[in-house]
Amino acid sequence: MPSVKQVQITFDCAQPERVARFWCEALGYVVPPPPTGFATWDDVDRTLPPERQGSAFACVDPAGVGPRLFFQRVPEGKAVKNRLHLDVRVGTGLVGAERVAALEAECARLVALGAVRVQLLPADGYNESCLVMQDVEGNEFCLD
């Protein structure tokens, strides 16, 4: 029996809401509405025990297409390169200088939001160019 599933991507974080807000801006994602009876997520947070306040945050694709992203606070910091990362679609269908220009323009927008430019990987005859970046907590991602 086929087992169709929903896939969520979870990020370990120091500051879940800060990282979530970055990814909202990067992807055009939105923060889902708080549960019935609460005006804001801050109101929900205040009902939690102190040690759980600010411990998690989520964002979703308003079009319902991309995966939900979930951010959870963990005590340890980032130690090595992540073995999983997101490829962010920017230059689909573009090639050559036009593609690099689109990647660099998006890179500049994200750097202004706190991301870090790592390096441009030029087209190599097999793969088109992509631009490696890090989010506000150092999680690697690619503009592709």
């Binding site: 990020f11 991309g66 995966p67 490829d87 999680n139």
Partner: protein, 124 residues
């Protein structure tokens, strides 16, 4: 121009073998142009995005800071048994006596992932 998540990309020692595992987990075919031995392998779209596996020289060191969580169609415990039969291993069991909770598994290259309750189980 709006952006979107194109791929969730995994570093892999054996991209095709790891893609085969995830293909079975997600019931999504490996793209026709992929083959064993190539540097990359990927699935057809999953929820608008694809899982993509790329060969890297280094092996996994430490717990991943980004991981996949699955909300199955099957019940959580049935899904856990199914994916373990496909080659996943148990990392930690966070299931509670009241039926809530989740299971942390690792794929054949040690990448942690979670099996959550199904939508029906959450609603119940």
């Amino acid at each position: 121009m709006p952006t979107s998540v194109r791929n969730v990309c995994f570093d892999a020692v054996d991209p095709y073998q790891l893609a085969t595992f995830w293909s079975q987990v997600l019931d999504q075919p490996i793209a026709a142009e992929c083959a064993p031995g190539l540097e990359e392998a990927y699935l057809d779209a999953v929820g608008g995005s694809s899982l993509y596996f790329q060969r890297v020289p280094e092996s996994k060191a430490g717990k991943n800071r980004v991981h996949v969580c699955l909300t199955p169609e099957l019940k959580r415990d049935e899904e856990t048994e199914r994916v373990m039969a496909l080659g996943a291993t148990l990392v930690s069991d966070h299931r509670n006596p009241d039926g809530t909770g989740w299971v942390v598994l690792a794929d054949p290259e040690g990448n942690e992932f979670c099996v959550l309750r199904s939508t029906a189980e959450r609603a119940g």
